[in-house]
């Protein structure tokens, strides 16, 4: 199972749970994972991606510790047993 780790500031959308598990097909990408997330929890999904399906500017996603923006963005591979971390980037004033 792929484990999506949800930051504390978004756990209002997961009933307080810190992780959500998904069964992804072999060869799945980050886009597949986030599409599955949006189907299961749309209010959470659109806080990570905008309505055009793009990662929000100040949201970072790490797949097994690698910044997904450096490994293909939404096309980044997500192995079946991956841990995917969603983190707010440094932003704001």
């Amino acid at each position: 199972m792929t484990r999506l780790v949800v930051p504390g500031s978004l756990r209002q959308f997961t009933d307080g749970e810190s992780t959500i598990e998904f069964a992804l097909d072999d060869g799945a990408t980050l886009a597949d994972l986030l599409e599955a997330l949006s189907s299961a929890k749309p209010a959470l999904g659109r806080r990570i991606r905008d309505e055009q399906g793009e990662l929000r500017r100040y949201v970072n996603v790490y797949v097994d510790g690698e910044d997904a923006r450096r490994t293909g963005g939404l096309a980044a591979p997500v192995p079946a047993a991956a841990e995917v971390l969603v983190l707010p980037s440094v932003a704001g004033g």
Partner: protein, 361 residues
Amino acid sequence: MADVLLAIGTAKGLFLARSTDRATWKLSQPHFLMNGVYAVAIDTRGDRPRLLASATSEHWGPSVFHSDDLGDTWAEPDEGAVTFPTDTDTSLGRVWQLVPSPSEPGVVWAGSEPQGLFRSDDGGEHFSFVRPLWDHPHRPEWGAGFGGAAIHTVLPHPDDPQRVLVAMSTGGVYRTEDAGATWMASNTGVKAYFFPDPWPEFGQCVHKVARDSQDPDRLFLQNHHGVYRSDDDGRTWDSIADNLPTDFGFAMLAHPSRAGVAYNFPITADGERIPPGHACRVFRTDDAGKSWTALGNGLPQQDYYGIVLRDAMCADDLDPAGIYFGTRNGEVFASPDEGEHWSLVAAHLPDVLSVRAAQVG
């Protein structure tokens, strides 16, 4: 005794203030902490007041929430209340304006960044995209003022649902007379000093427009330098800045029930964005802009540097009207007597972006 709610949208959350005498206020803890609340509305048309709030997280994006219990609980559709259609290849930055229609029950208008107009027929829960304005041939030439490329003003006509006016900076004023099917630029007489041709058909940096409460064809406009009035529903504009201390500012507010009465908060200049004379003063006209009266009783009159942004001034619906404004210094002031006397509602808040007030009990 009237129970007045003052909703205060700030750069870091929404505060709700309540008062029964408009002199003493009880301030809530922040709602939507760390969200910029650019627009708020108090919809008093139904059986119970509904609050609408545009809340944007720098990280997690924009939302429009509604509350039917005066802010105890908030809700939004899972899919979001305001979104751009997929084929626009555009995503919502934030909603800058939420306006219940005065002529159509259940209708709420939203203006967004980038320059989108949306209409809700269910009281602000779900919005549909007004495509003809987005498809306007001028849109590729609309610019982004420093605040963002946004429709920040939406003025539905009080009697005729076919007629709606919007304004943006930069882009100027546009009007429809067929319920949004077609739109026309409506900036004749409004100057754009920052262009080689200072009198273009469109492209003006309009900061705010307000509609007279008694004459719907009369409008007041605060421009990026320039203060104007229209007596023909925005077709043409004439300067009313001569008797103001400056012609720069952001806010423009029409009195909720008196004809020809409007409020303005002058700022020294584009290049000096502090109040003239370093004094906190609201200016009111009682004669549709021929003359203006400084209103500073109870406001800081020395060494003051706060300014009022475009949606940070409002009126309530009582008689006499209460007038309210918030500043980038995080202060909110209230007047229970149409601006004659002011008192502090709150201080040390984040930058105040939007205020709205209404009797809720």
